[in-house]
């Protein structure tokens, strides 16, 4: 018997899929049906015209991950699947945060925080500021934790998308 690598960790799976209707449903349905835990999924066009790139964040041990990639590969509309090595992968997320800014003091504090995190203020109203921030999910969490005390009205996150460093492609 082979040794089980049953340590559960978060995996970043990058998949090239045909860019046509129903593909997301096939992938999402597969995850539900096989009982795989999907934390996040982002889809967008890729460098090739008819292909889309999916970035899937899923948790599981090596055995689960192996099944995920194999089952994904079985889908006719899926062209390539790769479990990205977290060590050499760049992961980024976009987040929009609408913060309640009741006073002038709060307003300037929020702007300062946004600047520290290299965020941008993209909308202003008498009582709110909206920050745009990109980065790894941890950085976004950190900013949210800071401004939460002022009162967050709304948060919209894209979920992480990822690409491997260097010349390597999937």
């Amino acid at each position: 018997m082979v040794i089980k690598l049953d340590e559960s960790r978060t995996h970043i799976i990058s998949a090239l899929v045909l860019n046509k209707p129903g593909v997301l449903q096939r992938v999402a349905g597969l995850f539900t049906r096989r009982g795989f835990n999907i934390e996040n999924i982002t889809v967008g066009t890729s460098e090739q015209e008819n292909l889309a790139r999916m970035t899937i964040i899923a948790k599981g041990d090596e055995k689960v991950l192996e099944q995920i990639t194999k089952q994904l590969n079985k889908l006719i509309d899926v062209i390539k699947v790769r479990d990205l090595d977290p060590e050499i992968t760049v992961k980024r997320e976009l987040c929009l945060i609408k913060v309640h800014t009741a006073t002038e003091k709060v307003r300037s504090e929020v702007i300062q925080y946004a600047n520290i995190f290299r965020g941008r203020i993209i909308d202003v109203s008498p009582e709110t500021l909206t920050i745009e921030i990109t980065g790894p999910p941890e950085k976004i969490e950190a900013l949210i934790d800071l401004v939460i005390t002022f009162g967050i009205k709304e948060v919209a996150r894209t979920g992480p998308t990822a690409i491997s460093r260097g010349i390597k492609t999937i």
Partner: protein
Amino acid sequence: MKGGEAIIKSLTDQGVDTVFGYPGGVLLPLYDVIYDSNLRHILVRHEQCAAHAADGFARASGRVGVCIGTSGPGATNLITGIATAYMDSSPIVAIAGQVATGLIGNDAFQEVDTIGITMPITKHNFQAMKAEEIPGMIKSAFYIAGTGRAGPVVLDLPKDVQEEEFEYELSKDLELPGYKPTKKGHPLQVKKAAKMILNSKKPVILAGGGIILSDSSKELLRLSEIIEAPVTTTLMGKGSFPEDNPLSLGMLGMHGRKVSNLIVDECDCLIAIGCRFSDRTTGLISEFANNAKIIHIDVDPAEIGKNVDVDIPIVGDAKIILKNLIDVVEKVKNVNKTESEWLKHVLKFKQTCIPRLSFDEIPLKPQQVIKELSEAITDDTIVTTDVGQNQMWMAHYFTSRNPRKFISSGGLGTMGFGFPAAMGAKIAMPDNDVVAVCGDGGFLMVCQDLATIKEYEIPVVICVLDNRRLGMVSQWQKLFYNKRMSHTDLGQSPDFVKLAESFGVSAESVEKPGEMRETVEKAILSGEPYLIDVIIDPEEILPMVPPGCGLTEIVGEYKVERETAGEILYKPIGKEKSGD
């Protein structure tokens, strides 16, 4: 050309001569084309039977079976048959009508999301939004269904697309960049496997349905002879290896033969080919083949390591891999010098637990019924089963010698499969006799298709093993639920002989030993559809491995053919198993 004409032309181009179907509103344009075509259309009486018949057609012949149902309820009625084909990797193409493209999403009359519903139970599915897509789609559908790990493909065809005029054009190439099934096994893995087999002292082969699908029974026989390995099969693998061969152990698993279950537990090298280690085959996974290194050959990479951890996986077509494996092993090993210790031990033990088949009791014992059935048919007879006790009795007691001659719903376990599958098998293989062994419960689920076999004069012999109950469920109630027989008694209705006769199908009832053989022979000779109502002992129980137990923990009396003094204890050769 119109879309509907393109469908028929494309089907014909794929070599399709027969389809099983049921028309409906949105299929009117297609059926209008069928009216003038040379395609043989079998009008079933329920779409589920169309799908099962296409499945039986595929399993009996190896060709892709085709079924047709209308939108909405027509499509949902096909579902059970599609799921059955999916679980058992049977190549069928199911064509479903759909409401016109402009109405899709509006909850139109007889609209259902066929694509969404069939996604998890098909290898792939297609929806044509333009007639020009039809030729390529149908070509792709047949290619996907029949290659790699076979399986069902659904085509969803809206009404207006069937009517649309277009310029017929079929490109040579299929546009399937994401579908490249592996055929050849990795040579290094083959070498490793050969080495492991040659180093093993107690090898066993576990043959699954993949042997039948890849047509590699000859190679399997050859390999087993060279390496002197006994062969056990899964339910789907039944017929892949001649069960009257001394090396055959019969089926493995929950309802498997005692010899199979105990020998697999003892073996030191398990060569599993074209099987998926279903829970019904392995029993409790942690107890399965614990003394063995496992080699797993399968065409579907996702099956490797899914249920059982394997030591040497080889992905590819079983026929090619077996040929390679035989080549490598043959170079090293001389064939059949003397019988190995292992084989002597296996054969000796096998002799002690050959199941008893002869019983002269009334009501009839299923073993006796199967024995007489076997005497009445030939090696060319195709036997289908339903699901439940009838199926497991057949799997356990019936000796199958050839591939594609034992057809059963293994994975999904679909009651009502046996009869329509037999109908499809007979259409595919008109020169072979076809016998369906059903239970009374399962047969009643599909009995309306007696009309189909009568109208088309499809000479299928239906044997209803009639115990007036849901035998398998009641067996579990008896064994595991304190004999609380909740809703498993089917009562005295109907009279199966009269039922058949009302459809114009000849029928008679069998109650005593000796009658079964006579009646089956007569039924086959009649050359007409025939139903035999076999009154069997409702109390008969097949020994089994309780759910959640290891394969050696068989409960129920295992009645053996040869009476020997006292109970023969099973003694594994070699080292005793350690306590952990």
